[in-house]
Symmetry: C2
Subunit: 182 residues, 2 copies
């Protein structure tokens, strides 16, 4: 491989500084690309971020509202959740959609993938488009207190453009679908 694209970092030592069921934080002693010594604190995510954009036959989507503890503010987002390592992301997507909205979908496809915050963490997100929807009963998890909103897709797109939806997975899902439907 062309040397320009090979790893210019050298890891001298690594130690875990924090661990919980969702993340593991480590600090590495490194030699940086310019040859100087340094440290790198890396947040490893134990789950993959799963997002689902559910669109019904009338062009409506579902948004989930919840208070985000990390931001200390309320956030409207597409249905999302964590998919464990080893779990099929599509199965996780089906579960999260059902738990948060009660919806089931007959048709699924991948809408996009992203690394959410690659300067500090390794979190990977995958987004599915869910169509041919059937309504059932929602079953939120204990850590979630959710509101549901059914809105026209164009209204959700406007919420992204106006900065009213800021969650990165939701922003990517909605922008991407807006482009693909053209």
């Amino acid at each position: 491989m062309d040397d320009r694209f090979s790893n210019p970092w050298r890891t001298l030592k690594t130690r875990v500084v924090y661990d919980n069921p969702w993340i593991r934080v480590r600090e590495d002693d490194v030699i940086r690309p310019d040859g100087a010594p340094g440290i790198y604190g890396v947040v490893h995510y134990k789950n993959r971020a799963i997002g689902v954009l559910p669109i019904d036959d009338e062009g409506y989507i579902w948004l989930v509202g919840q208070y985000r503890y990390t931001l200390d503010s309320y956030s409207w987002e597409i249905p999302e959740g964590g998919g464990a390592e080893g779990e099929d992301p599509l199965e996780a997507a089906k579960r999260e959609l059902r738990e948060e909205t009660g919806l089931e979908a007959r048709t699924w496809r991948t809408l996009g993938q992203a690394h959410l915050s690659n300067s500090v963490g390794d979190e990977a997100g995958i987004i599915f488009l869910a169509t041919d929807l059937v309504q059932g009963e929602a079953e939120p998890e204990g850590t979630e207190k959710l509101e549901l909103m059914r809105v026209k897709f164009d209204e959700a797109l406007q919420m992204v453009l106006d900065g009213e939806i800021t969650d990165s997975i939701s922003v990517i899902a909605i922008l991407r679908y807006a482009i693909e439907r053209e």
Copy 2:
């Protein structure tokens, strides 16, 4: 305010478990929305993520390639960097664009904002569109070993749609500009 949108979490105790120049990780003892006790590990980002989409008069943009230590893989992205708390994000954007590409821009506007990973962290990103470009000399930081690529905007958009660009800030910037130019 409608009680449905108020904070359903209660913080009992908080302690810092890791701190470096870029992030501070804390673990809180909490009462969850369902009333059960739990913990929440929160990654606080000391810098805001700044992204710049530089577009020249011929419809070309600049991508920066670098090896991402967190992912152990190579990544093509728009010019990005960190803006310290208290620093004007636009000034940080001008500095990052100049350092990474040598470009200066006469016209700037905000292209979007996002919270990159709100289940675990509070990282906020802001993206600027930079136009009326003038080429100067790049000055990368010691932690960076960068490649530059000038590509047609439509080619970059295709790289996003094909999953060749996965960095969330870059994905959001490129999708959003694709919609706004319509």
